[in-house]
Each structure stands twice: as C-alpha cells, then as structure tokens.
C-alpha cells in the first residue's frame, strides 16, 4: 500500500521503458561531460600551475566563474541567453557544454591539488635525469596524480550524475525530465519517482563499483 492506493504493476510496465531510456541519456551526458571536463580540467590545472601569469589568471578566472555561479544559471545562459546574441544550441549541445565546463572547473581543482601533492623529490629526480617539463608531467607526475585523485574523481562522477537532472530545465530529456512527464501523464508520482530513484541508485552503484575496482588496481604500488 502506497499513499492509500495500490501500486499498479501495469503502470510500472508502461513507464519503465521510458525511464530506462531517460537513464541511458543521463549516463551518456554524465560520461561525456566528465570526460570532457577532465580534459578541460587537466589543461586548466596545468595553466594554473604554470609560470605564465596571463594564462594562469585566465584559468583562474574560468574556475572562479564556473564554481561561483549555479549550474542551472549556466545552463540557462547557454540555452536561453546565447541565442539572443545569435549563438544557438540544441538542448543536447547546451547541456553538454554547460555540464562539461562546470565539471571542468571542479576537475581543475581536483587535478591541481593532486599535482601539488606529488612529492617534490619526483620532480627533482626527473630534472636530474634530464627530463623535459612535458615528459616529467606525462611520464611521472600525472600518473601518480591519477592515483591520488581517483577517490575525488569518483565523487565528481556521482555528483555530476545527479546534477545532470538540472538539464531537464532546458528541455533535455534525461531520466528526471522523463519522470516528470510520465508522472504528470499517469497521475502516479509515487511509482514513477520510486522507480526513478532506483535507477539513479543503480547508476551511482555502477560508477562506485567501477571506481573502487580501479582504485584497487592502482594500489599495487
């Protein structure tokens, strides 16, 4: 018994495929935006740590802007704001750009922190062996940074997965938007949101499992 009415199995059968499809879009948005965010974050972190003052402050401005304003606002600017100055995006494009840039700002700080926590002796060893800065980063520092930041990146993934629900506000059909639409058309909010919650839990569990597996694999050294 839920909310005084019986849970209807037929309703579940009807709404489940729609919600599942929404979940796949949620997964897709999460993975693409965190991957793009990682690349943006890596570049931003390296710029922030570089001796080039101009590039460092450009990178600093970016993280300041995207961490300092709500993601919902950023999405609105990309989807509703930019068309007014002639730049139009589909909901999917606007969602990806917004999510990636937002994720990039957080990843930049995670990666920067990771690089800073690599032992100074590693840099000295590289320098004494004649490594270039790029090789030092690529071969020694970033691989070690990777191990340090894995838990934080896992966290960022899960936060991102849930934050993708915000793109429902710019007409992007992912699982949250699907849930809202289906619950309105079936008048069965309890069932619909219950399934949606289960789907979110399933997705976060998948990511958590993948990351803890990865963490274990890297703990050999």
């Amino acid at each position: 018994m839920l909310g005084g009415t019986r849970m209807d199995i037929n309703i579940l059968k009807e709404v489940f495929p729609v919600l599942l499809e929404g979940s796949l879009m949620t997964m897709e948005l999460t993975i693409i935006s965190v991957v793009l965010g990682s690349l943006i974050g890596m570049a931003t972190a390296l710029l922030k740590l570089s001796k080039n003052k101009l590039m460092a402050s450009v990178a600093g401005f970016y993280t300041w802007l995207f961490r300092g304003t709500p993601m919902l606002l950023q999405l609105f600017v990309f989807y509703y704001g930019l068309p007014k100055v002639g730049i139009e995006f589909t909901p999917f494009q606007a969602a990806l750009i917004g999510l990636s840039l937002n994720s990039g700002a957080y990843m930049a700080e995670i990666i920067r922190g990771g690089i800073l926590s690599v032992d100074k002796g590693q840099f000295e060893a590289c320098k004494s062996l004649g490594f270039t800065y790029l090789d030092t980063m690529k071969r020694v520092v970033l691989p070690q940074t990777f191990k340090i930041i894995i838990p934080s990146v896992g966290n960022e993934f899960i936060t991102m997965l849930k934050d993708t629900s915000l793109v429902s506000a710019i007409a992007m059909e992912e699982v949250m938007r699907a849930a809202q639409l289906v619950s309105a058309s079936t008048f069965r909010p309890m069932e619909v949101f219950f399934i949606t919650a289960c789907l979110y839990l399933l997705m976060t569990t998948i990511f958590t499992t993948v990351f803890s597996h990865y963490e274990k694999k890297l703990s050999v050294y």
């Binding site: 590693q122 060893a125 004494s128 004649g130």
Partner: protein, 243 residues
C-alpha cells in the same frame, strides 16, 4: 679540462647566504667527498652542480660546458652526463625496479627499448637486485631502494655521479650494501662527488676531502692529511666530535 668546475659560486635563500664565492674543481676519475656539520651548505652546493638549485652568482662548468639557465636544451643535455642519487631515493613510485631503470634512457635519450633493457639488466645485476626487477619500490628496503636509485642514474651512462647523503636515511645495517656499490663505482674510475657523514668511506675511497662549515671551505686535502693531520682548529673540533 675539469669534469666539474665552479667559479665564484654563490647561493642565497632570501637574506641568508648559504655559501659565497666557492671555487671547486673535480678531475676525471676523482672521488671528492664533502663533509661538514648540517647547515654548512654542502648539500646545497652539490645541488647547484646540476642546477637543482640555481646559484645566485658564479658559474658551473660540466666538462667545460657552462650551465646556462637561459639555454634550457643545452642545460638538459649537459645535465644528462651527471647522475644524481638523493638522500630520499626519489624512485618513481608507480614503476617497478626495471621500469625505473629504463625510463630515462628511453624517454630522455630516445634509445631503443631493446638496447636499454639489455643494459638495465646488467646494471641491476651489478647492484645485486636481480631478483627484484619486477617489484615496486614500496616493497623494497631502504638499502635496496638506494641501489635501484644508483642503477637508475647509471642507466643514463653518466660521466659524473653526485651523491647527496646517500646513506643518511638508511638503517645502520643497510649502509654497507650501498657504500659497497659506491666503492665498486669508484674503482671503475667514475668521477664522483659525495656529500656524506660516513667518515670510513671518506678515508677509504676519497681522493680528496673538502670540509665545509658556515658556507666556506675550511680545509681541503687528501684523506690522509685530512684525518691524521688536520690544520684548521675548526676541522679538529669537528673530527673530535664525530670520530
């Protein structure tokens, strides 16, 4: 031509002068041991020789080539000839023993992997770690780590080796195995500069000993002169304290 030559080398940290106007030369095949109390500037001096610390004044020449901060490529090429061993090993944690040893020749010198592998195995055997090639540094003892660090430096086929207190962070019973490898190197004619507190090593292996205190070279001589007949009062006091 000297293997290493410093001219009027000066290093300051802020207002603190670590050392001033040091002129030191090292000949081919020579083993120079630098001793002195902590804070005497000996480690900083050593670190200036491959520009891990950039001196404020004066010049460093490696085999006649001046280290010039403005010419990064030339500096890297020159530093390749100088191997360095650190007090804290600074092995690459994410690589096995073998990977640590082959990394620099492949990445820095772009040598063929097969060549480097062959050479690495010989070097690893020479430092007595044949059974450990596939272990990560975290599985090794301090003495083993330091021997890997020496092997890693040797894989670059350096002309000069710098040792910055290589046994200071080792348990006493592990010091011997590292000094043993260093002695072998000296016998083979490697040019070495060693900062150490191991007086036995200095007496036995050094061609020349420099005693540094307060950022200056107080006394310099063969181990025989230095340990048996020190001329300076400060040297006598130091030796009395530690011997």
């Amino acid at each position: 031509m000297y293997m290493i030559e410093t001219k009027n080398l000066t290093k300051r940290f802020g207002t603190l002068t670590v050392f001033e106007g040091l002129n030191v030369t090292v000949k081919k095949g020579e083993v120079l041991v630098i001793i002195g109390p902590s804070g005497s500037g000996k480690s900083t001096f050593l670190r200036c020789l491959n520009h891990l610390e950039v001196p404020n004044m004066g010049e460093v020449f490696i085999e006649g080539e001046k280290l010039d901060v403005k010419n990064k490529r030339h500096m890297r090429n020159t530093i390749e000839k100088v191997g360095m061993v650190f007090q804290n090993f600074n092995l690459f944690h994410h690589m096995t023993v073998l990977q640590n040893v082959i990394e620099a020749p492949i990445t820095v010198k772009h040598e063929a992997r097969e060549e480097v592998l062959k050479r690495a195995k010989v070097i690893i055997e020479k430092v007595g770690l044949k059974e450990k090639v596939d272990d990560y540094p975290s599985k090794l003892s301090g003495g083993q780590k330091q021997r890997v660090a020496i092997a890693r430096a040797l894989a670059m086929r350096p002309d000069i080796m710098l040792f910055d207190e290589p046994t200071s962070s080792l348990d006493p019973e592990l010091v011997g195995e590292v000094l043993g490898v260093m002695k072998d190197l000296a016998k083979e004619g490697m040019t070495m500069v060693v900062v150490t507190h191991e007086m036995g090593f200095a007496q036995e292996v050094a061609d020349r000993v420099i005693f540094m205190d307060g950022g200056t070279i107080v006394e310099e001589g063969t181990p025989k002169e230095f340990f048996n007949d020190p001329k300076e009062q400060r040297t006598k006091e130091f030796l009395n304290k530690i011997l």
